[in-house]
Symmetry: C2
Subunit: 413 residues, 2 copies
């Protein structure tokens, strides 16, 4: 039984995590918020207070923290007596926060793979470059580390495990499809940190096909699907974290990730990318100033958290799984539909942040209750999916399925 | 009789100016090259030597200069005994270089209007904001200052004066049309300093219509013309320097400027502009660095002078003039066609730089010979056009006309 949660990061996802922790503080205990910018933490704490999100009377405290500083992070974990750390800060701090958790015995949860700011799209499997190198250390220290427990990666990994356990004897392919059919009303914006968002698309696209790593260019391969609620949608093969663990942990020859993009997004992205404005390598201006173009693009784009109040429409994210069951071919789509406006009304964030922020809190509850407190490093598909998906059904991210029998909610209680 | 030329600036236009001065150094005397970056001057001097451009044995010397420093500029004028200064540096240095000329008695020639780096698209007439405020001072000191003596402004102003003198009793409209039908083979590039290039299009578009200043947005109004050599071309109403003097000096109710843009250029421009990346106002990155987005865009774009070797195709720039002559309506198009490859072969620059760089050298020759040494500040339409156009016929920028009698070269000798 673990309790008291330290949330690292203070962006849109952290806002959702804080609200959801507050809604379950009878189990999770005290909440600490830490980021480089104290004011951002305080704004989140104020939002939690304003919406009355606390289930029972409890603490929510804010701290300024450089999460690249392992000692400072470990001290804060000890000072706040946090036994669970939810890291939703920049993807650059994962390894230092993990180190602090190993030092202190706190459980570690994150929602995206570690990145080196100087590198784009490293060699697959990506988890092998940083996270998995520390598996033994976690096991030796009985540190629970759950990697990539957002929506994608995260919930879609649990969908894959569920498909394997319940719906198939053998799986030929898993196509994870991520569609945001919402509208933010701006000329152009990214739904989360532009620096991380664009980095997903500027490198090579890795997919797992015929049990091999395959390379493509971004926007080279697309598909069109008729999906529940959001209708006909075009998506493009994209590199994504979950392929890099599912390909190792599941016996599935084809695992691909597809992200929906409108033509306008692709046009803006293509212009910026072709001009070199999405580069993480510094350039020198005529005046001699060294500047990273991507950081300037980030500076001129709308802050993703500012999009929430006017965001309308829905997201649909799920796993399209094909294979055999009882000697017959079958195809199932396991998915969630979330609504931007409902997310904003509940926790003050848009739907993309909501789908990423609710799952780590569900995971924290399972760690707190001992169900997922596995005392080692795991990816989500290595954990029992049903208790997790069951909790999400109650917490605002219901799971549905479309198969031979049509579309319906899935319930596991 | 004036001699010895100081060229300020070391970009693509300065390269053309240096070569053309060298080709006429029997009249123009010694050549001095000055810019912030000495190496750029030296590269131009080396190119002049390599191509053997000097007509007679003579000096070409290079100097590092901050042309915003009036005293340093005046000292260099005295030190080099330059009686003619051709300012083809940044548009931000015009007023300081003019001051140095007034101090030293050197003739001043430039090719673009003065700009304040912090302002975009000021109140018309633009010359009234800076240049014309110093008319009296020039007259008092007998300083010859010829403003805007590139191609446009410059040659097109002479075309307008010629139309007024030779082809019309009354003019209803002058539409200056600038088409670059060449291809540089890059994804995207500007033909001269991107900082100045984009500034032309990010503000309001001023035109002179029905004897009044009229405002439009960029890319709001377009026209399509069938032009000599380059064929059918679409151009967009654009704000431009020459409208601001022609509207004062000519009795013409409608004066407009049209620049040709392809759809790709407009798309890239629109994306960058809508995102705020063409702003001259600094933004702050997440790391706290203050950066002017436009300077970063400039840093990632190809250096305009690097385009020359692979540039192919032609430019067509001219004045479409409508009015009455001897009681009859008529329409004439006075124009030049230049070839990018020929320009590169002759002086190592592309056609846009060539059309901008040859005219100030023709003007310098007219100043040297006393024909245009007017000892006051003038715009080009205030000077006799024929000696100038005649020189350009010999120097690589022949004037043609299309009227009721068809297309043909114009000769004034």
């Amino acid at each position: 039984m673990k309790k008291n949660v330290l949330i690292i990061g203070a962006g849109g996802v952290a806002q959702v995590v804080a609200h959801k922790c507050a809604q379950h503080n009878d189990i999770l205990g005290n909440i600490a918020l830490a980021s480089r910018t104290l004011e951002k933490c305080e704004a989140i704490a104020a939002s939690v207070a304003e919406k009355g999100s606390m289930k029972v009377a409890g603490q929510i405290c804010c701290f300024a923290l450089d999460a690249l500083d392992v000692e400072a992070t470990a001290s804060l974990i000890r000072e706040t007596q946090s036994q669970i750390v939810i890291n939703v800060g920049s993807a650059f701090v994962n390894m230092s926060v993990l180190s602090a958790c190993i030092k202190t015995g706190a459980a570690y949860l994150d929602t995206a793979i570690h990145e080196d700011p100087a590198k784009i799209c490293e060699t697959p499997p990506w988890y092998g470059n940083y996270e998995w190198k520390r598996k033994q250390e976690c096991e030796n220290n009985k540190t629970t580390a759950i990697l990539g427990i957002g929506f994608d990666p995260g919930v879609v990994n649990a969908y894959a495990a569920l498909a394997r356990d319940e719906y198939f004897d053998a799986i030929d392919s898993i196509d994870i499809i991520d569609i945001n059919a919402g509208s933010h009303g701006k000329y152009f914006a990214t739904n989360f940190d532009p620096e991380i968002n664009f980095r997903e698309f500027t490198g090579r696209v890795w997919s797992w096909q015929n049990r091999q790593w395959t390379q493509n260019r971004m926007f080279e391969i697309k598909r069109t699907d008729s999906l529940p609620v959001v209708g006909e949608q075009t998506s493009y093969m994209t590199g994504h974290d979950e392929i890099h663990s599912l390909s190792k942990n599941l016996d599935v020859p084809n695992i691909r990730f597809w992200m929906g993009f409108g033509e306008h997004y692709i046009n803006v992205f293509t212009v910026l990318n072709n001009l070199g404005l999405l580069s993480e390598q510094p350039v020198k201006t005529a005046e001699g100033q060294e500047v990273v173009p991507l950081k300037v693009v980030k500076a001129v784009l709308p802050d993703p958290s500012s999009l929430a109040p006017n965001y309308t429409g829905k997201t649909c994210i799920g796993d399209l799984v094909k294979g055999q069951k009882d000697g017959k071919e079958r195809e199932v789509f396991i998915y969630n539909v979330a609504d931007h406006k409902e997310a904003y009304n509940e926790v003050g964030s848009q739907g993309i942040s909501y789908t990423a922020g609710v799952p780590p809190v569900a995971a924290a509850l399972l760690v707190a209750q001992g169900i997922w407190d596995v005392e080692k490093m795991v990816n989500v598909e290595e954990l029992p999916p049903k208790p997790f998906l069951n909790l999400l059904n109650q917490m605002g991210l219901p799971t549905c399925i479309r198969d031979e029998a049509g579309e319906r909610p899935l319930n596991f209680s």
